[in-house]
């Protein structure tokens, strides 16, 4: 009765739905399910039906997620403004992020999002073992994400790539490593990179000892005009190192490292803040999933009560959503 009179206050569509819901509950009662007068033990006294309770919980969660989107929105504004003002720092900074690691992390998060969606499904079907398995897999995905993130962060921090005023990059070591990492990825596409960054290597402190070797040597492969320089450089390398082939490879790739722009530290400030806040959400999500996992192992969830699984799932999908935007914005600048 109470449910029907409340329903009238709302629009007709909802009233109709409420009525169907009531008849359906009665039908379930007759079929011998453990409702006491349509009253689940999980139904709080201030709700009329489980459906209403479920929808209210979901709406509350969505309101919270909206605030989360606004929270990250502020950081996206910072990103947009700095990228509009100083696009060069983003073009420089993204060389320090490994798209393979970022892409792997994207895939890991998407997969864990899928296992979370599957967990909600199994909770709805009351399949406890599969629910627990899916939650454990989701937690595993979250751990995997953080482990990869740890490697990314530590690789930068060990070379002094910190955000803001702590930015004190150890260019020599860092760029050498970057050259190694990027060299494998771009080996076949060498041709179109040189002319873009060729001038940059010249004024770089790191290139001092073999500075002339860098740009002309690669360029000389195509235009015959540089032939003279090419010969000189070739002989220089042979004298210096006794000529291991690997050295030649490193020298050739040197022009790819662009000169560090003045405000490069801003990129890393944005990078650490955005990925850090996202990482914090991953940790909070892991705590929430762990809590749901404990409840699931106790067998709390079933077809009529799975709201915690569903809402934690919504949170976890939001974490995935944010990363879906962070990944191309930070890693795939070109």
């Amino acid at each position: 009765m109470g449910s029907e009179s409340r329903g009238i206050l709302q629009d007709s569509g909802r009233t109709r739905r409420r009525l169907t819901m009531t008849t359906e509950t009665q039908a379930i009662d007759k079929s011998g399910h453990d409702h006491d007068h349509g009253h689940s033990p999980y139904l709080q006294h201030h709700f009329d039906t489980m459906e209403q309770q479920f929808n209210s919980g979901k709406l509350g969660m969505w309101l919270f997620l909206a605030t989360e989107i606004l929270l990250f929105g502020g950081l996206f504004v910072a990103y947009a403004i700095y990228r509009a003002l100083h696009p060069e720092i983003f073009e420089y900074g993204h060389h320090f992020l490994d798209p393979v690691m970022g892409g792997t992390n994207t895939a890991v998060l998407i997969l864990s999002s899928f296992t979370m969606a599957a967990a909600v499904r199994y909770a709805q079907e009351g399949k406890k073992t599969m629910l627990v398995a899916c939650l454990v897999l989701t937690l595993g995905g979250a751990c995997g994400f953080l482990v990869i993130k740890y490697f990314e962060y530590s690789h930068k921090m060990v070379h002094g790539v910190f955000p803001g005023k702590f930015y004190a990059p150890d260019d020599h070591i860092l760029e050498e490593e970057l050259m190694g990492a990027h060299g494998h990825g771009h080996e076949e596409g060498d041709g179109h990179h040189e002319e873009g960054h060729g001038h940059a290597a010249g004024d770089h402190e790191e290139a001092a000892h073999e500075e002339p070797a860098a740009a002309p040597m690669v360029v000389s492969q195509t235009p015959p005009a540089a032939e003279g320089e090419f010969v000189i450089e070739k002989s220089q390398i042979a004298e210096a190192g006794g000529g291991p082939e690997g050295l030649v490879g490193i020298v050739q790739q040197e022009p790819k490292m662009p000169k560090r722009p003045e405000k490069a530290h801003v990129f890393f400030g944005i990078y650490y803040l955005m990925t850090g806040l996202h990482g914090l959400h991953v940790v909070i999500g892991m705590c929430a999933i762990g809590w749901v996992l404990l409840k699931a192992m106790k067998g709390v969830f079933g077809p009529e009560y799975f709201t915690p699984v569903d809402l934690v799932g919504l949170y976890w999908h939001l974490v995935d959503l944010i990363w879906i935007f962070l990944f191309p914005l930070l890693y795939l600048i070109d």
Binding site: W62, G73, G74, T106, K165, H317, F327
Partner: protein, 126 residues
């Protein structure tokens, strides 16, 4: 959008059970789109690159919202909450950028770098 309330025979609980086919299809689409967004950066399309990257990200986000987050089956009000928050973020970004470009003509070039103490290479006080 009201399919969520037409329960099938096996399911007596609340909410809508998303079909396995839909879940796996969305997962596949997300992974393919991730691969695509990485591959497309190999082509230099100028300003189109970021448009494509953000377009793919938006498609992925929409898929996650509609099916993983059940918005397709939910009461439309939940979608309204999401869409309004996203709209406000867009307003925030767009108005900030409009404001930024509005005073660009008045900026004196290299004013800040001429004021800076060369002893401190970064803007922040140290």
């Amino acid at each position: 959008m009201n399919e969520g309330n037409t329960h099938n025979n096996e399911h007596h609980g609340v909410g809508h059970i998303v079909d396995w086919k839909v879940l796996i299809g969305v997962l596949t689409a997300l992974l393919v789109l991730t691969y695509l967004t990485v591959k497309v950066t190999e082509f230099d399309l100028g300003p189109l690159n970021i448009v494509i990257a953000l377009g793919i990200a938006t498609v992925k986000a929409t898929l996650v919202c509609l099916f993983f987050m059940h918005l397709y089956y939910d009461q439309p009000f939940n979608s309204l909450v999401l869409v309004s928050s996203v709209l406000f973020v867009l307003v925030f970004i767009l108005f900030s950028l409009i404001d930024l470009s509005a005073y660009q003509p008045d900026i004196i070039q290299d004013y800040i770098s001429s004021m800076r103490d060369p002893a401190y290479p970064l803007d922040e006080p140290q």
